[in-house]
Every structure is written in structure tokens, then in C-alpha cells.
Symmetry: C2
Amino acid sequence: MVASSQRRREVTVADVAREAGVAKATASRALGNYGAVSDDARDRILAAAEALGYRPNELARSMNTGKSKTVGVVVGDIENGYFALALRGISDAAKRAGYDIILVNTSEDVDAEVDAVRLLLDKRVDGMIVAPASAYRVDHLRDVFDSGRPLVFLDRQVEGLPAFSVGVDIAPAARAATAALIHDGHRRIAFVSALGTDGDRYSGLPLGVSSVADRLVGILEGLEEIGIPATPDLIRYGADGLEKTRAVIADLMALSDPPTAILMSDSLVALNVLLALRELGIQVPKDVSVVAFDDFDWAALTNPPLTVVAQPIYEVGVAAADVLIRLMRGQTPEETTVRLPASLVRRDSIGRVAVAGR
Amino acid sequence: MVASSQRRREVTVADVAREAGVAKATASRALGNYGAVSDDARDRILAAAEALGYRPNELARSMNTGKSKTVGVVVGDIENGYFALALRGISDAAKRAGYDIILVNTSEDVDAEVDAVRLLLDKRVDGMIVAPASAYRVDHLRDVFDSGRPLVFLDRQVEGLPAFSVGVDIAPAARAATAALIHDGHRRIAFVSALGTDGDRYSGLPLGVSSVADRLVGILEGLEEIGIPATPDLIRYGADGLEKTRAVIADLMALSDPPTAILMSDSLVALNVLLALRELGIQVPKDVSVVAFDDFDWAALTNPPLTVVAQPIYEVGVAAADVLIRLMRGQTPEETTVRLPASLVRRDSIGRVAVAGR
DNA sequence: TTGTATGCGTTATCAG
DNA sequence: CTGATAACGCATACAA
């Protein structure tokens, strides 16, 4: 009746086998339920295991099956609602299929990403889901392929790698958002992102993050449709944190011909832009209209409620995991790229602008 | 010059040793940099490893060191900003110490938690951080102790287990929030939580989640201070999701003597309560005052900006990981319980109430 | 300093 | 159906 503080030495199959009076191999078969074992033996073995409090050592198991039933997930920022929600989708789908998740947060730092990928490979994950921080440094991602383990890109694509990728078809929605703004008379439309680049401006669109580049593509298409040329002075990067965002917004609104509308790249950017606008006493949508990417939970709670580009983020996570799982099972999905649709959700943050005939 | 698609068989120490013309043990020592190896041999071995593209198999390594350099983290809901931020803290601190994280989301379901803990144990994590969904079902947590692995509770405590716990000292702050409301004339103060209980009301406070119970303790103390007895009709559970929250709020505000203030248990509850109030046309703070637990990022963005109880969530995550790391290193922190301070952040969601002399 | 032999806990192979 | 025995890839006590 002593509290069984059976520390130290763990109970192994060998112990169970001895207790049940069978060979290790037989016990192993019964416990791992594979191969063939007589009902009689199985009962004794299971009883012994129960009595001894046997628990399999998954490390040892993984070692000679080659499968760890674990997938690596590498994202830039868990704090970002986008990734948190996608992670939830991945987690749910993975659990359903019996996989655990090793999560690594890279803070969008490529060096950290490189290390993370290497380590996950060393830990012998069965597959990986990565939101690559850069489309330029990709050797570590190539290593994943060379290791024979499946890799799925989340939210972002990388050219030149034979990879599967799951994300949102954001360009058309970005274009629709732009069109909506144009329809209400807007001509000076800004785009603000947290991404860093060499300069602070739009420099030819060679962005390292495809999902952000796609937003821009859509916006530019929308503008082009009515013959408005790209306006580099209205495309701003580096709005990372409130301070920098404040500077970006102040600078933008101090332009001789300031934007009448701002497209905000994600929920974090939206938060900071809204805060900055308030500080400057600039009212939405009276003084400036705004549209955010992502229909984050508080988007409808602001005053006015925000018009947004809604993305099926949870579903993206689930889809990414499902593709990976299929791959890990040796099946090959027909589609190499999955793009879920985004849609414009109209609320009240777009105001009308008198179309001043120039 | 063929793209080295060295699939199948992995490169092992044996291969490196052969290539370098030394014994396995020597190569192993050089690669794991322990023991003593001549500079000459080390150079040859490292060169061979580089040439062959050797990568250590951490599984095998873990097997006979007994350490996996991995910690398990079990939380109820990653979507909840609280856990997302705490996770970030844990992640940063763990990475700093060379640990990876296996993350499991239980959806606050105890059965899922039990499974998760067992599986993590089977995967031989070196330690665990758990935000237990219930203080009543704890056998699986006891198993962690019996396995000899350190366990740290996050945000919540469990009686009767010799565990370390890291969280926020929320009761005093809850009391301060209540006092602030009382100071402004409020007497009918409601508390709304997403937690489920047997009934929908306050039933003697035996909550399974200590951090929520602590909020209530603080509130009740604050009320008691001026002689207001506990008001079970104003304490509501089950505000889980917009729909249920809507019902809770509608019911609350339809009371013959409705609350003049509402304390919202966390950011998710706050979101839904605010949405519900808006739907009902109830204005903050004119018709009802609100205070939220957690200073989530958009708390200052609502109209009016929310008065909140701010918690050092990221720091809680870091502290939890640090305690665990110390434990895993065999050190014993002097404090068995770490409680970081919370504070009231006054913004504009508390209105004055005329103290009607009864 | 280096090499040999053994162990970690499973699964897998192949006789019996 | 069952039981020896050999992997799996690395670390480590011990001997040389």
C-alpha cells in the first residue's frame, strides 16, 4: 500500500515479458499490437503491463520504425493572430491523425529559421510545416527535401522548390478591396506592412514573403484597372511595432497629397495604424478610410467596425496539416498548391470621397 | 556534380569514422565534443562529417543520455491571447536554454489533457508546463511526478500536488478593480466567465480553475469590504462563445435590479460581452461600466478605451520556463510558487453611478 | 589519446 | 503462434 514511487529505472518490455512468462518479442507484439499473439498470452501480457505500470518508450520505438509521429511547425510569430489560428487548425488536424507538434517561433528571423529546421530534422520529425521568413535563403528548406521528409509551406510560397504549399488566394481579394475603395472615390490608396526591406519603400516588389507581395499585386492590379500607376510613395514597409508605425503614418499623412485610404497588411499593423491615427486626431472614415487584411475577432468591435479582407485561416491550417499527413503516408496529393478563397467583408470603415476632377 | 539526393540510408557516426579512418567512439567524441580527441583526429573527423553531410540522430542520442532536450507544453486554448503570449514567453526562454517545445492544445477538455500528458511522458520530454483544465482530475499529473520529471503549473494551481506553479497574483488586482467600481458608486457588480460549471451560477466557488476562482475571491473581498454580501445572481459562467454570452448578458440586464458594472474574465469574454452589449443597444459606460481582465492589445482601441487588469503574461511564460529549466538541471528553486503582480489600468470604461440612498 | 565492447528500449527477421 | 537474435544510432566504461 505504499505509494508506488517507482522512480529510477523505467519498466520495459523485458520486465513485462518476464512477469508474463513470455519472450520479449512476444510481449512486444502484444503491446504494440502487431504480428500474431494468442489470446491467452496477450491477456497475461496486458495484465502484467498494467500491473507494472508499463509505458512504451516512444523514442526507442521511433528509432527503429523510423517514424516519430511528430511534425515540426515553424512560424514567424505566434503572437500574430493569423499564425495562432492557423496553428490551431494544424494542431487539431494533426492530433486527429495521431501526430504531435514541435512548435518553433522564429520571430521572422531567417537565421533562427535555419537553426530550427536543422534541429527538427535532427530530431527526426516525420514532416514539417513552415512559413518561410524569406524566399531568398532556402538551402535549409532544400535540406528537408533531401532528407526525404515532406514539407508544406504555410501562407507563403518559395519559387524553385518542388514543395507543396497551402495558403490564401489573397490577390483577387486585395484587388476587390481596392476596387471598393476606388468605387467610393478613392484614388490615393496606401498600403502599410510590417515587413522590413532594404529601403522603406516599394522597391520593385521583390518581397521575401509571397503573401505580402500578393496583396500588393492585387492592389496594383486594382489601381491599374482604372489607369492609376503604381504610387511608390504610398507603399510603406517597416511598420513594425507602434513606434515605427506612428512614424510611417505621420509621414504618410503629412504628404502634400496624402492618401485617402489605407490598406493594412495584417491585424497587428491594423492595431498600430488605428492607434496612430487616433493619436493624430485623424478620424475613420471621415478623414481617411481603412481596410484591414484578416477578419480578426475585434475587427467588428472598433468604431467604426472595420471593412476587412477575411481569410479562412483555421481552414488553411487544417488543409496544410492534411496535405502533410497525406504526404507522410506516402500518398501524393494531386494539387501541389492549395489556395483557399478570401473575401471582402464590408463594414463601415470606408468613406466616400468627392471625386475631384483634376 | 549530381544534386546529392542522398535519400534512403542516413549518414551515421560509423560512416564518418570510416571516412576519417578512426573508430566509432572517437568520431562520436569529436562530433559530440566531449571526452578527449587529438586536434589532428578532430579535424579529420569534422571534415569527413562535413563532406558526408552528417547530421546527428537526436533520437538515438536521447536514448542513452536520457535527455531529449524537449519540454511539453499543455494549454487549453492557443487562440486565447493569454496563452498565445505566455507560450511566446515559454518559447523564448526555452530556446535560450536549448529546449524545443511540443505543444498540445486541449480545448480545455480534461480527457484530452490526460491523453496529452501520457503521450508526452511516453515521448520522454524532460519536463512539462501545464495549465490544468481541472483541479479535480489530477492523476495524470501525479504520474508526471512519479516519472521523476519536473512539472510546472502555468496560470493555475492544483492543491495537494507538490508542484511548482507560476502565475499572476490576480486576487488583489481584482479587488482593486472592484474597489474602483465601488468608489464610483457601483453596488451591483457582475462577473462573467467562460468556464462551465454544474449550474450556470456561482455555486460555492469550488472552481476547477484557480485563476478564475482567484478573480472571484478578489471581487468578493472588495464587495465585502463595504458590507455587500455575495450576489450569486450576478456571477455567471458558461459565457463560451458569442451565442451563450449573448444569452448571459441578456439575462443579466433583464434582471429587475440589473448590474451597473460587469467584470469580464478574459479577452475572449470581453469581446463577446462587448459585442452583446452593442447588439442590445446598451452603452458603455453610460448604461453599464465594464472592466476586463488582461490588457490585450486592442483594449485601448475600443470606444471607450477599456479599463483593465493588466497581467505580465509574457513574463509569466518566461518565469514558468525558467523554473522548469532550473528543475530539469537538478536545481531546486527556493520559491515553490511564483506570483507576478497584476495592476489596474484605468481608462474610460467605468462610469459614475448616483449612489441612490436606499 | 584511441579503440573495444556493451547498453539504451524497441521493432524486425527468421527459425522453430 | 513463439522465441532467440540482430538491428536502430549513439554514448560510455574500460582497456590498451
